[in-house]
Amino acid sequence: MQASRARLFKEYKDVQREKVADPDIQLVCDDANIFKWTALIKGPSETPYEGGVFQLAFAVPEQYPLQPPNVRFLTKIFHPNVHFKSGEICLDILKNAWSPAWTLQSVCRAIIALMAHPEPDSPLNCDSGNLLRSGDVRGFHSMARMYTRLAAMPKKG
């Protein structure tokens, strides 16, 4: 219990310091519970997610950093490795390839990288994966773009 707390304090302080350094990630700790965090990440450029801001929810287990945080998208996203309904993310470092050397901040970076480089062969969103696997990049792009506009961009007016 105390080890995870101490480590999260460290991360909290590091985040305060790095805020300016990483304009694509805004990590915020819950006011009342250091085991709950949210992040806002910018969709990477030259992807259908460009211009969108996506919200992630982190639930950190008490065994952290020996066990990975539980992360999911709160913002709808059309991506082969993100469950369309639950926002669950299929990413190896959040499962069996986890290492305590990762931090909440670097996990955000990994998720941004996943957004730019989908893995259609291990899909959580089959429609999205099938589009890419069948080579319909344009179809995938327009679907992903549409959902970015609908869910991740500020409404006009």
């Binding site: 105390q2 707390r5 101490a6 304090f9 590091d14 006011d31 290492s99 305590p100």
Partner: protein, 203 residues
């Protein structure tokens, strides 16, 4: 951002200890109010911390609050030139209380081994002269020491704390170093170096 070390622990007399607590409280409060734009309280190690391992969350918070009250009482009773502060006025959220107590408790423990006696005495000197100055505000923290260990300091990737020179290091075959207790806990989960993912145990 300027790196500043607050040194104040292990003071010789109780009086001096009170003064340093007072200053630390001020720094902690200013830090929480966001008025302080420097990195204070470089944390060194948590091994001296009270371990709340088997206690519930509420008990922990209660303990933290009473500890903070205790520290604030010390501050208020020792210093009449500053307006008394109480925990309600601070309007701290539970995380901030935690953080503040964490930092303050921390400062009570042996910072001393980090510095030579000369450095330490110089810092002490400055704390005391700061105290004499009635205009003392946290903004002008006078006891600034640039850390000599900076270029050498390495961080344990598991707890993110500094690895102190040669102390309690667990080094793996790949050459990566962690605190021995940290890496032991991880290796029980998985037999891989957290940094390079190489296997560590020879079977």
């Amino acid at each position: 951002m300027q790196k500043v070390f607050a040194i104040s622990i292990n003071c010789v007399s109780k009086m001096e200890q009170m003064q340093s607590i007072e200053i630390n409280i001020n720094i902690g409060v200013e830090l929480l109010r966001g008025n302080l734009n420097i990195e204070v309280f470089e944390t060194v190690g948590l091994e001296n911390h009270i371990d709340y391992e088997d206690e519930g969350q509420s008990l922990h918070e209660e303990h933290q609050r009473s500890r903070l009250n205790e520290l604030l009482d010390m501050r208020n009773s020792e210093n009449s030139s500053l307006a008394p502060l109480n925990i309600e006025e601070l309007n701290l959220k539970s995380r901030e209380v935690d953080l503040l107590v964490h930092e303050l408790t921390y400062l009570h423990y042996n910072f001393k081994d980090q510095y030579s006696n000369e450095e330490y005495n110089a810092a002490q000197e400055k704390i005391i002269s700061a105290k004499v100055n009635p205009d003392f505000r946290v903004k002008t923290i006078p006891y600034v020491l640039s850390p000599s260990t900076d270029e050498e300091s390495e961080t344990c990737a598991i707890c993110l704390d500094e690895i102190k020179n040669g102390k309690n290091i667990g080094s793996l075959q790949c050459g990566h170093e962690y605190h021995i207790n940290c890496i032991k806990r991880w290796l029980r989960v998985k037999d891989l170096c957290p940094k390079c993912k190489r296997q560590c145990l020879p079977f």
